[in-house]
Symmetry: C2
Subunit: 191 residues, 2 copies
């Protein structure tokens, strides 16, 4: 049977901002500008960054990923979470209810978030055609072997399937470092 | 068959010092004092700490683990390595030849190391009797499942067997964070 190889994308800490928060942080009418297109169609790393301040420390330059979203969300690693003192839970993107907040500072203003800081659950974006070919359904939990410098098998890798996705496995920096892999390496779906 | 359960110990960044370096950093005749006994017989976390300085940053309080060793060795995570700009290789403890150096500062002096900074390869300490019972030999590479918040299977876990060891699996903070586990949790040896 064909090996189910998936390219790996390592997510460093980043933030998605709502339109309302972009206006507060960067000024009325401000828009994000594109630094680099990302693997998912329409998504981009912006030139703009913000400071993220927690009770024990801060990250002075956190990259904004665009375009604007309905709700502001910050994705950090567990190492980051300890570093700034924010007990971020492991969650799927978009599921921020009850997660801790943090203060976000931009050049024109700041926002005190009530919630929105998560550690993103590892996941694979599948285009509908990839998922169909491999018999994978949205929400499946997969096992993926990464044969890097420190080989391991990630379990509970969430399958996310959409016509608007491109095939890519997203893990955070803790996960990449413990596997000894980097963006552009490949993982193999075992089951 | 009996499940091969192993307690997990998460190693934060730490340093082992030679006698010569203890004298330079803390003064002639200085000795390490015991803060806490560790899982391995005779090993301890010292009250004393040092600053570790790399080209891109520093860690102001790195815990010393005693007793003194033949050679000074610093064990950091890959996240730490990026943070201070030191390209530490994944190595077994004691194998520091050709690894990068760093500057170590104590209250009485400093040492510029030519080598000694590694990312410790994940490993399990087995007492000889544990290893015999489970048919494991020194140097075996094992697969260990950790069923934490983010389940995964670590591969290439090095078996280290000695009469002077107590059963314990040592992983670093990146590995613990990506598994969602902590010291005192258990792993299961699969093969």
């Amino acid at each position: 049977m064909e090996s189910k190889q998936v390219p790996i994308g390592v997510s460093a800490r980043h933030i998605h901002l709502s339109k309302e928060h972009i206006a507060i942080l960067f000024g009325d009418g401000a828009e994000l500008s594109v630094l680099k297109e990302l693997s998912q169609p329409g998504q981009f790393a912006a030139n703009e960054t913000v400071e993220v301040v927690g009770p024990k420390g801060s990250f002075p330059k956190v990259r904004i990923l665009g375009p604007a979203r309905g709700k502001t969300q910050i994705e950090i690693s567990r190492t980051d979470a300890f570093s700034i003192g924010v007990p971020a839970p492991v969650r799927e993107s978009g599921n921020i209810a009850g997660s801790p907040g943090v203060t976000v500072k931009g050049p024109k203003g700041e926002v005190v978030l009530e919630e929105g800081v998560i550690v993103a659950a590892r996941h694979i974006h599948f285009h509908t055609s990839d998922a169909a070919k491999w018999g994978i359904a949205n929400g499946d939990l997969l096992r993926v072997r990464v044969n890097g410098e420190r080989p391991l098998v990630f379990e509970d890798v969430v399958a996310r399937v959409s016509d608007s996705f491109a095939l890519d496995m997203h893990i955070d920096t803790d996960e990449a470092n413990s596997a000894g892999c980097k963006t552009g390496d490949a993982g193999e779906i075992l089951s």
